[in-house]
Amino acid sequence: MVGIAAWGAYAPRLRLSRRAVVEANAWVAPNLRSKGKGERSMANWDEDALTMAVEAARDALGTADDRSQIDALYFASTTAPFADRLNAGIVSAALTLEKSISASDVTGSQRCGLTALGQALAAVQGGVARAALVTAGEHRRTRAASALELDCGDGAAAFVVTADAGAAELLGRGSVTDDFVDHFRGNDGGFDYAWEERWIRDEGIVKLVPPAVKRALEAAGVAASDVAHFCFPSTFAGMAATLAKGLGIRPEAVRDNLAAVMGEAGCAHGPILLAHALEQAQAGEIIVVAQFGQGAEALVFRATGQGTRPARGVSGSLADRQEETNYMKFLTFNGLVEWDKGMRAEKDNKTALTTLYRNEDMILGLVGGRCRETGVVQFPRTRISVAPNNPAVDTQEPYRFAERRASVLSYSADYLTFSMAPPNHYGMIVFEGGGRIMMDITDVSPGDVDTGLPVKMVFRIKDVDEKRGFVRYFWKAAPDRSAQAAQTAVAAE
């Protein structure tokens, strides 16, 4: 037996109003006016496929420091930051997983999120791994005034796969591989080049997806009519319903593809729809998830009603939103505008790889130290303890800060320094249980921050070295809006 023990999801807080987009582009693309409904999730400037995947994985893993049960990691994305550097290695370091795990990047097609999940299930089923973490994130770069710009969203989902049924037991899987090029993106890091939609729909999706689903259902021994949740992401309206009809899946089983509220998050979208189904499925219900891409991948699960429910999940991600109506901001965040960053942005962001590796757990894992003798917690970990009355030497044990609750001690909103989203908020963050870090505060607007604001840690892009194509990651503080709400409620009483 093999199944999904836990799942998690993430969507960036910003939701770009499609109406704002189509109105800005109406002069050049009046045909897109009809798409000006609802909103799409929009990564902040400091988020990418990898940071979102880390957040989804944290949601799936929970807040326990001990993650030593995970022995395999799969990171899926077609928009990973590095072409040659194990992106999953960065995810692993951020999550402070064990060094002994196996880790791989799964990429190359929009179906790679489900491919990664399938590989993890196979690895656990085959006894190669005991607990595999799968996380898929996508941040697609789209041309201004394109339909894809409106259709896409940014997001991530993650699963922990174990040999127990957990939340959902795997019943069957099916694949089709065929070099049907509906769209492609070359190695130049540019944009998608897509063929005619009618051909993609009629010759591609309609012919290549059903065989994969049928194979999966046959392997599961489940009749199509027994499927309770059919998850199929597509930017074509009614595509999932059309497939369901052809497959004999009941129309009411076709799940909302979240186009209206977040858009399609590429290879992460199948996983996101699956996570959403897990949040809503009753015990015993059959879930089918499939995604198209040079063929298709299909998986069949039976929900158990058990397993670990995530703190946020898809529902929580969708609920935590802030409307963004500034299309220019979207273009700027996505590198589609050559804007005047000022001379302060000219500083060289070359990263000393030696320094990065020497401080890997500090920088990527937000690991500090705890003195064995005094219990004093500090960041960073140092040979001599910071405790003023007991500067003990070599007594520091690794101490993880990423999942600790924290609050703002002091802050400023800085208009002078360079920021992709000025003013740059940063301040001294103090942690429950001790320790403090001067750090960036993200996902805030002027007026949001003051001393005492509860914050949580989020894994984000620190800087981008455009000259060398290197992305620096570190942790930032973001408002802990649930803790904030609880605080307000207490104050009201």
Binding site: T351, A352, T354, N359, T382, Y411, D414, T417, M428, K462
Partner: protein, 400 residues
């Protein structure tokens, strides 16, 4: 406990260039300007100099590293030149080096000179610093105002002061310094301003607006020190004596331990306490005649009034509003305009502060002259509230 520096060293002469946007002058020119004034004031020849201390902070521009820039600019007679750097407190460090050399007997006459050429960056504010390889991977992409502005949020939270009250108090700090700077022909900024101007200025780093930030200036300042015996033998009278020189440096307590509340300078309190003991001062609020503090930002000056134990904790903002630190107040502060208006050429600033205290003690401060000052104190800070170096120096009348 060490005996300290009190009354062992006298200031023989000082000089200071005009501060400001010195488009006309390179660092060499600025150095020469301060040096010639100081040498003339001291009445000595270059051959009488035994050793030199040279302070600059920003070596990405201006003079570059090492002791040679000073030696070459001033054509020093191949004496020792030690370049010192300790953030914005570098000037005080040059002075400390020269004073200690004289006190030790290793030098009869020593010179300290600080210079900074900041206005070759092409943009406003301080140059973007090069913080090494680890810091930029973790520290926020911040600025000096953004770091110091944080004092305000923590101070408000600790003392229950409203945003509006604190904003008005720090506005008063700047209005006072502009009023003083208007009487100083060497100052970078010489125009008086109003509270409304401060309150309505563009925001730089919340809650600091444009007028809450000091000038970014070019300039140089210089001190020549010797023993009281040599000074007297040269015919000098009414000597200005070094009474205390203290430096306290953060060790991570503020930034990494769980004690500091973010509203004050841990190091300033330590340095001030030691300086008062070294100088034999027990009641600073009554005994200190005047102070030059490191008012890089208005909020820094406000909390410093408490850190120097002149205002009671949590009451500094009220003293400021009451005019206690104005030119006609109990302890005049920034009588020369301070960093705010005299300007802040980093490596020179500590020496510039001493220059004003020296002029006042010598009765040569012209339109700014205070009545019969006895002790002048300088507070020269470098770094940021959470991690800094803080220098406190006291100079005073002979016999005080």
């Amino acid at each position: 406990m060490a005996k300290g520096i009190r009354d062992k060293v006298a200031i023989l002469g000082m000089g200071c260039s005009k501060f400001g946007e010195r488009w006309d002058a390179g660092p060499d020119d600025l150095m020469v300007e301060a040096y010639i004034e100081a040498m003339s004031d001291a009445g000595i020849e270059p051959s009488q100099l035994d050793a030199a201390w040279f302070s600059t902070h920003v070596d990405e521009m201006g003079t570059g590293k090492g002791g040679t820039p000073m030696s070459i600019a001033l054509r020093l007679p191949n004496i020792a030149v030690t370049r010192v750097e300790n953030f914005c407190a570098s000037g005080s460090e040059a002075f400390r080096g020269a004073v200690y050399a004289v006190a030790s007997g290793a030098a009869d006459i020593a010179i300290a000179l600080g210079v900074e050429k900041l206005k070759d960056t092409g943009y406003g504010g301080l140059p973007v610093a090069n913080p090494g390889t680890l810091t930029p991977q973790v520290m926020p992409n911040g600025s000096a105002p953004g770091n110091f502005a944080q004092l305000a949020s923590a101070y408000r939270a600790k003392h229950g002061v409203s945003k509006d009250d604190l904003k008005r108090a720090i506005a008063h700090v700047s209005v006072k310094s502009h009023a003083n700077g208007a009487k100083n022909s060497k100052a970078h900024l010489q125009k008086p301003i109003t509270v409304d101007q401060v309150l309505n200025a563009p925001m730089i780093a919340e809650p600091l607006g444009l007028f809450d930030c000091c000038g970014v200036s070019d300039g140089a300042a210089c001190a020549i020190v010797t023993t009281p015996e040599i000074a007297r033998a040269m015919g000098k009278k009414n000597l200005t004596m070094v009474k205390a020189l203290q430096l306290s440096v953060s060790n991570g307590y503020e930034s990494q331990y769980n004690g500091w509340d973010g509203s004050h300078f841990h190091t300033a309190r330590i340095a001030a306490g030691k300086a008062y003991r070294e100088a034999g001062i027990e009641r600073p609020r009554e005994q200190i005649s005047m102070i030059e503090v490191h008012d890089c930002f208005s909020i820094t000056e406000l909390v410093t009034m408490e850190d120097l134990f002149i205002s009671p904790e949590g009451q500094g903002w009220r003293d400021v509003m009451d005019g206690f630190y104005d030119a006609d107040g109990g302890v005049p502060c920034q009588i020369d305009g301070g960093l705010k208006c005299f300007g802040h050429p980093i490596g020179a600033s500590g020496l510039r502060m001493l220059y004003e205290m020296y002029l006042q003690l010598q009765g040569r401060a012209g339109p700014r002259q205070l009545k019969d000052p006895v002790f002048g104190m300088t507070h020269n800070l470098g770094g940021a509230p959470a991690s800094n170096v803080c220098s406190v120096a006291i100079i005073g009348q002979e016999g005080a």
